[in-house]
């Protein structure tokens, strides 16, 4: 799905300006990472693209149409093609994983199927397969409140994988995972998007993960684009400047310096650039 933001400004109801005349164009099937210090507007951009909030000014175009001008039924159909992975997964604690994952397709299922699935899960095999991709297949019939924060975050990923959307939005999808698992889950998202030709836009806290896994990286600072290029074209100076307000050096997965040694386990696991 193509995504285009033209001069988008977003002002929160409390008067705080989150995005300032931001323009972006992302082609269908592209995989993009968004990085930047906290409070820079990464979440706002994803929520705008996910049609969860409306721009104060400027236009958003999804699949070459302004979603806010679509009739209600068309907007719902469009939303069913957008899958969002939230940083804090919005999952009911008493729900079983199988139901939580199947909820990913509620926008695509007819009402009778959705309601019948509350009585008996409609697609147990499908839910199990989605959970297997994040290493949680054995917890299929467990309740969400029996899981740790990191496991819950992976359930959120599994739900969106099961939805199989044309536009995958991930808001810090691995913030609660350890580096190995984080790398695997981000890899799984990339493979999924690539295999289906879906667009993937992920905001990430760890710079090394963004540079190592995505062909295009957008740096956001104070609600505006600081840089937008392939990882090979991003210099240490650009990164240091991007995070200048927050810390002396850019954040990485286990707070190791970004300048990696030529040898050693970290270099092998996490190439800085592709």
């Amino acid at each position: 799905m193509e995504v285009e933001l033209v001069d988008v400004t977003l002002t929160h109801p409390n008067g705080q300006r989150a995005l300032d005349r931001l323009s972006l164009a992302i082609r269908g099937g592209e995989r993009v990472a968004i990085i930047g210090p906290s409070g820079a507007g990464k979440t706002s951009i994803l929520r705008l693209i996910g049609t969860a909030i409306r721009p104060t000014a400027g236009t958003l175009r999804l699949a070459n149409a302004d979603p806010w001008r679509l009739p209600r039924a068309a907007l719902r159909r469009l939303r069913s093609r957008i899958g969002t992975i939230h940083q804090a997964p919005p999952l009911p604690p008493r729900q079983r994983l199988v139901t939580t994952v199947l909820a990913g397709r509620l926008g695509q299922w007819p009402l009778w199927r959705a309601l019948a699935s509350l009585v008996y899960p409609a697609d147990i095999a499908g839910a199990e397969a989605a959970l297997a991709r994040v290493d949680l297949a054995d917890r299929l019939f467990d309740r969400c409140d029996r899981l740790s924060g990191g496991q819950l975050q992976r359930v959120g990923v599994a739900r969106t994988l099961y939805q199989a959307p044309d536009l995958l939005l991930a808001d810090e999808p691995v913030s609660a995972l350890d580096p190995q698992l984080a790398t695997r889950v981000v890899g799984e998202l990339n493979r999924d998007a690539q295999a289906r030709g879906a667009t993937l836009i992920a905001s990430l806290h760890a710079v090394d993960l963004a540079l190592g896994s995505f062909p295009r990286v957008i740096g956001i600072r104070a609600g505006a684009v600081a840089f937008d290029r392939p990882p090979a074209g991003i210099t240490d100076a650009m990164l240091t400047e991007l995070y200048a307000s927050e810390s002396p050096r850019p954040p990485t997965q286990d707070e190791q310096p970004l300048e990696l040694p030529e040898t050693g386990p970290r270099a092998a696991r996490q190439p800085l650039c592709r």
Binding site: G50, T51, A52, I53, R54, W68, P71, R72, L75, R76, R77, L78, R79, S80, R81, I82, G83, T84, H86, A88, P90, L91, P92, P93, R94, Q95, T99, A103, G104, L106, G107, Q108, W109, L111, A114, L115, L118, Q163, P165
Partner: protein
């Protein structure tokens, strides 16, 4: 100068608001007691005490004769049936109303998008309807239905159904909105509908509260159906009315014991339900 500032800073800033609230509450309460002709002295003057004393004294021993017990058992069953049927009907009416009235399930509020004012225009009348339903006391509904469908429990069932639909509907939609609404919102944002967002997003969050509040309302309905018995809606209340008019203290005592047992039962059911859905 610095000393003054220090002493100012160490005073609790909440002091003044708390004082004002206390004074205002007292000023509001006093005329309330006056208006209600609340006079504790009347309770303790010799004549009142004597009447009360002889009536309460006649409570012992409770009337446990088989004939009366059979009568009470029948009335108890009638009361339970009236309360249960009434609350069930009320829930059937309240549920769809709460679904419509709840802002947590509004698709048009996301953004906000198209039809936002239409949504609000539908929600408000439903909320008002719920207010109207519960603003009229169940006893008034009972008097109305006793005239419409005649003496007996049917009038009580209808009265409970109508007034409790208002209360349940209001509390249901408040429960829907007060819990974590992000799961439902996430489903709406992924193209889900209202009903599915409710079933997958709100119901699992709200279930324990819904269950325990509904059982609590059932307990209230048992008590309400007693009061409605006094106006001829059948059940334990009607029996109590008869016993009191005949100044049969023993019978009244027996019925009061049954009330106590019923409330205990409601407590038990509530606890079991809460554990089952926790």
């Amino acid at each position: 100068m610095t000393a003054i500032r220090a002493s100012l800073a160490s005073r609790d800033p909440a002091l003044l608001p708390r004082l004002v609230i206390t004074v205002v509450a007292l000023l509001l309460l006093w005329p309330g007691l006056e208006l209600a002709e609340f006079d504790p002295a009347a309770l303790f003057d010799s004549r009142g005490l004597a009447t009360l004393g002889s009536f309460v004294g006649s409570f012992l021993p409770p009337d446990l004769s088989p004939d009366f017990l059979r009568l009470v058992a029948e009335a108890t069953l009638q009361t339970l049936a009236m309360a249960t049927a009434g609350v069930f009907l009320a829930a059937v009416l309240a549920f769809p109303a709460a679904l419509v009235a709840s802002r947590a399930l509004s698709i048009s509020r996301i953004g906000p998008g198209r039809g936002r004012w239409l949504g609000e225009a539908v929600r408000l009348p439903v909320r008002w309807l719920l207010v109207v339903l519960r603003s009229i006391p169940e006893i008034v509904w009972a008097l109305l239905f006793v005239r419409a469908v005649g003496l007996g429990p049917a009038a009580g069932v209808l009265a409970i159904a109508i007034s409790y639909a208002g209360m349940l509907g209001k509390v249901y939609f408040e429960i829907f909105e007060s819990g974590d609404t992000r799961p439902a919102r996430a489903i709406l944002e992924a193209g889900g509908g209202r009903l599915t967002a409710f079933g997958y997003g709100i119901f699992p969050v709200a279930l324990p509260e819904l269950a325990s509040y509904s059982v609590y309302r059932w307990e209230c309905a048992v008590r309400a159906s007693v009061v409605m018995g006094f106006v001829g809606a059948g059940g334990l209340g009607q029996q109590m009315d008869l016993s009191m008019k005949m100044l049969a203290g023993g019978e009244v005592a027996t019925i009061l014991v049954v009330f106590f047992l019923l409330v205990l039962l409601a407590d038990l059911v509530s606890a079991v339900l809460r554990r089952a859905v926790a």
